[in-house]
C-alpha cells in the first residue's frame, strides 16, 4: 500500500515539475540573484508600540463592556458583590476611553505638547486642532480619578464576595 502511495505522489511531483519547472526556476532566480535589503525579521520601532498599547486599551474597554452585559443578562447584578464589580467595570471603561484619548492626542495625533515652565506651571502647546483640545488633554491627564474608583469598587466587590462565601459556608455547617 505504502509503495503504491509514494509512487503516486512522486508521479504527481514529476508532472508538476514538468509543467511549472521553468516558471519556478525563473522566480527563484529573481529572489536569489538580484541585490536587495534583508527583510527576514520585521522591525517594531517607532509608533507601533503606541498602536499596540492603544489596542490593549480598547480590548480592555471592550471586555469590560462585555462583562457588564453578561452580568446583567445572567441576573448576577442582583447580588451586591457583582453589583460592585459591575461598577468597577463601568469605571474601567471610562478610564480606558480617557487613557486611549490622551495617548491618541499626545502620541498619535501629536496635537499637544506639554512643557514644564517653572513655578508649578505647565504649558500646553496646541500643535493642531481647536483650543478645547488643550482643555480636554489637561483634564484627561487626571485619569486616576477614574481608575482609582474602579479599583475601590473591585476591592469592595471581592470583599463582599468573601463575606458571602464565608456566610454560606457557615450556613452549611462547614468550617470556613
Amino acid at each position: 500500500m505504502a509503495p503504491l502511495i509514494s509512487g503516486h505522489i512522486s508521479g504527481w511531483i514529476k508532472a508538476l515539475y514538468s509543467r511549472c519547472g521553468p516558471v519556478i526556476c525563473a522566480v527563484a532566480g529573481v529572489f536569489f540573484l538580484s541585490a536587495s535589503p534583508v527583510l527576514a525579521t520585521q522591525g517594531h520601532s517607532g509608533i507601533e508600540g503606541v498602536w499596540v498599547h492603544q489596542f490593549a486599551h480598547l480590548f480592555f474597554l471592550f471586555s469590560m463592556g462585555l462583562l457588564i452585559f453578561w452580568l446583567r443578562r445572567a441576573g448576577l447584578v442582583k447580588k451586591t458583590a457583582w453589583r460592585y464589580i459591575q461598577n468597577a467595570a463601568f469605571f474601567f471603561i471610562i478610564w480606558n476611553a480617557d487613557a486611549a484619548l490622551v495617548h491618541f492626542l499626545e502620541e498619535q495625533l501629536i496635537a499637544v505638547e506639554m512643557t514644564m515652565v517653572g513655578g508649578g506651571q505647565v504649558r500646553i502647546d496646541l500643535l493642531r486642532g481647536s483650543d478645547w483640545i488643550s482643555v480636554i488633554y489637561y483634564l484627561g491627564k487626571l485619569d486616576h480619578i477614574f481608575c482609582v474608583p474602579a479599583m475601590i469598587c473591585l476591592m469592595l466587590g471581592v470583599r463582599r464576595m468573601l463575606a458571602d462565601h464565608r456566610h454560606e459556608t457557615a450556613a452549611r455547617g462547614e468550617i470556613p
Binding site: A56, Y138, H144
Partner: protein, 504 residues
C-alpha cells in the same frame, strides 16, 4: 495654554499609591477566597483580574512615581529608557485582564454545568450510600407496604357487596370476588368455581357480550349498562355493569375489569314506590268523588225511606221504592269502599289477636259457600304479640283476600295462611297463599287500582284489593303480592307492632 501642574501631580502621585494599595487589598481578598475554594471559576477569574491589575498598578504607578522623580531630577534620558518597559508591562496586563474576561462567561457556563453535574453525582452517591446502608430495612419496609396495600385491595375485593370480575378479552373469567360467585351461583352451592368459564354464559341476551366487549375495545370502558344476568338456578337478575380494559405488567394480554351491581331490589322498590304514588293519587281522586256523591245518595235514600213509610206494602209503588232503596244502598256501599280505600277515616284501634281475627274470618268464609274441595290451612306463629288494630277493617281485608283466593283456586285447591313475626321484630306478617291460576305479569301493577277486576261484569266491583290496600296503609303497614301464572299467588300484608299514626 498655561495651567497649574499641581492637580496633575497630586492626582498622579496619590492615585498611583491608592491603585497599589487597593489592587493589593483586592488580591489579598482573592487569595483568601482561593483558600476557601480553589476550584471555583469565579474566584479564579477574580484572582487573575486582581493579580493582573496589581502588576499593572505596580508597573504603572511605580513608573509614574519614577517619572515624576526623574523629571524633577532632570534625568529624562533615564526615564525614556524605562518608559517602554513600563508601557509594555501595562499593555500585557490589559491583555491578560481582557482575555480572562472574554473567556469568563464561557468558562463560567462550563463550570456551572460541571458544578451541577457534580452536585447530582454527590446526591446520587449519597442516595446510593443510604440505600447500601439501609437496604435491608428499606426492603422490609417496602415489603410491609406491599403486604398492607395487597391486604387493603384484597379486602375491598373480598368484602365488596358488588360483583368484581376480571376476564380475558374473549370473556373467559380469570377471577371473581365472593359476592360475584354467590350471585352467579344463586340457589346453588355458592362456592362452586366459575373461574375459567365464559362470562357470556351468564348473560341473558345472546348479543350482550358482543356489544359490551366491542364498546370496551372502542371506548376503553363501559359505564352503567343495564342488563340481565342468567343465573344458574334459571332466574334472571337485573344488574348495572361498568367495565374497562386494563393491561398490567403481570398480565401479558389485556383484560377486562368489571364492576357489576345487583339492582333487582332497587328496581323492585322503585316500582313499589311508583305504585304507592299512583294509588295515593287515585285515592285522593276517589275520595273527592265519593264525598260529593255520598251526600246526594243520603238524601235520595232518606226521601225513599220516607215515601216507603206512607206506601202500602202491597202497592206497586212500594216495590219500585224498594228497588230504588236497594240500589242506593248498593251505591253507598261502593262509596264507602272508595272512602276506605282513600283512608279518609282513621281506624279505631284496639289491642287484638290477629289469629282470632283470621280464625273468625275463615269460619265466616266457610259458612258462606266455601266449596269443601278447597282446603284452608293455617300456619300460625306462636310468638306473635297482640297489636293495636281496627278489628273490623282487618277482618274485611282478610275476607277480601280469602274471597279472591277462593275465586283463584276455582273448584279445587289449597289456601294457606301463614303468620310470622318479621326478623326485625317490629311487624307481623300475614300471608295468604293459594294454588290458583295466578295473576299475569301485566296485571300485577294494576291489581290495587280501584275498579280493576278480571272477574265478569256483575261478579265484582274491583274494589276489594283497593279497600284492603287502603286499610293496611291506614294501619301503617304494607301489602304486596307475588304471583306466578298457573302456580298461584301469595298476598302478604305487614302490620306494625307499634302502630304508626296515619297521616290521613
Amino acid at each position: 495654554m498655561i495651567a497649574s501642574f499641581s492637580p496633575i501631580w497630586w492626582v498622579d502621585v496619590a492615585g498611583s499609591l491608592l491603585m497599589i494599595i487597593f489592587a493589593f487589598i483586592s488580591l489579598g481578598y482573592c487569595l483568601r477566597l482561593r483558600r476557601l475554594d480553589a476550584a471555583d471559576i469565579v474566584i479564579n477569574y477574580l484572582f487573575w483580574v486582581c493579580g493582573a491589575l496589581s502588576v499593572f498598578a505596580i508597573s504603572r504607578s511605580v513608573g509614574h512615581l519614577l517619572k515624576q522623580m526623574l523629571l524633577l531630577a532632570h534625568r529624562e534620558a533615564l526615564w525614556l529608557s524605562i518608559q517602554p518597559i513600563s508601557g509594555a508591562v501595562n499593555t500585557c496586563t490589559f491583555i491578560v485582564v481582557a482575555s480572562v474576561t472574554l473567556f469568563f462567561e464561557r468558562n463560567w457556563k462550563i463550570y456551572g454545568t460541571i458544578v451541577k453535574d457534580r452536585h447530582e453525582l454527590e446526591v446520587a452517591h449519597e442516595k446510593l450510600l443510604y440505600l447500601n446502608q439501609h437496604l435491608e430495612q428499606l426492603a422490609e419496609n417496602r415489603s410491609a407496604a406491599l403486604v398492607a396495600s395487597e391486604h387493603k385491595y384484597r379486602q375491598i375485593f373480598e368484602v365488596s357487596k358488588d360483583m368484581i370480575l376480571v376476564t380475558h378479552t374473549d370473556g373467559q373469567i380469570i377471577t371473581i370476588n365472593p359476592a360475584g360467585r354467590q350471585l352467579m351461583n344463586e340457589g346453588q352451592d355458592s362456592q362452586t368455581s366459575v373461574e375459567g368459564k365464559e362470562f357470556q354464559q351468564f348473560l341473558s341476551g345472546p348479543q350482550d357480550w358482543y356489544a359490551i366487549s366491542r364498546q370496551i375495545q372502542i371506548n376503553g370502558s363501559i359505564i352503567n349498562e343495564e342488563l340481565d344476568l342468567a343465573l344458574r338456578d334459571g332466574t334472571r337478575r337485573r344488574v348495572l355493569l361498568s367495565g374497562s380494559i386494563a393491561r398490567t405488567l403481570a398480565e401479558e394480554a389485556a383484560t377486562f375489569h368489571f364492576l357489576i351491581k345487583d339492582i333487582q331490589q332497587r328496581q323492585l322498590m322503585q316500582k313499589q314506590m311508583a305504585q304507592a304514588d299512583k294509588l295515593a293519587s287515585i285515592g285522593e281522586f276517589a275520595s273527592g268523588i265519593a264525598h260529593e256523591i255520598n251526600n246526594p245518595l243520603g238524601i235520595i235514600l232518606g226521601y225513599t225511606q220516607l215515601l216507603l213509610r206512607s206506601e202500602d206494602p202491597a202497592a206497586d209503588q212500594y216495590q219500585d221504592l224498594k228497588t230504588i232503596e236497594k240500589h242506593v244502598q248498593s251505591c253507598k256501599t261502593i262509596v264507602e269502599d272508595l272512602l276506605n280505600f282513600a283512608r279518609t277515616s282513621a281506624p279505631s284501634r284496639e289491642k287484638s289477636n290477629i289469629h282470632a281475627i283470621i280464625t273468625d274470618t275463615i269460619r265466616f268464609v266457610r259458612h258462606h259457600g266455601n266449596p269443601d274441595a278447597i282446603q284452608i290451612e293455617t300456619d300460625f306463629s306462636t310468638d306473635l304479640p297482640f297489636i293495636r288494630m281496627d278489628e273490623k277493617k282487618i277482618k274485611q281485608v282478610m275476607i277480601n283476600l280469602l274471597t279472591n283466593a277462593i275465586h283463584a283456586v276455582g273448584d279445587e285447591g289449597r289456601i294457606r295462611i301463614l303468620t310470622r313475626l318479621t326478623p326485625s321484630g317490629d311487624a307481623i306478617s300475614v300471608a295468604v297463599a293459594d294454588t290458583g291460576h295466578g295473576i299475569p305479569k301485566e296485571n300485577l301493577t294494576r291489581i290495587f287500582d280501584p275498579f280493576f277486576t278480571t272477574k265478569p261484569t256483575g261478579k265484582g266491583t274491583g274494589l276489594g284489593l283497593s279497600v284492603s290496600y287502603g286499610i293496611i296503609k291506614g294501619h301503617g303497614g304494607q301489602i304486596q303480592v307475588d304471583s306466578e301464572v298457573d302456580k298461584g299467588s301469595i298476598f302478604t300484608f305487614l302490620l306494625p307492632v307499634q302502630p304508626v299514626i296515619s297521616a290521613r
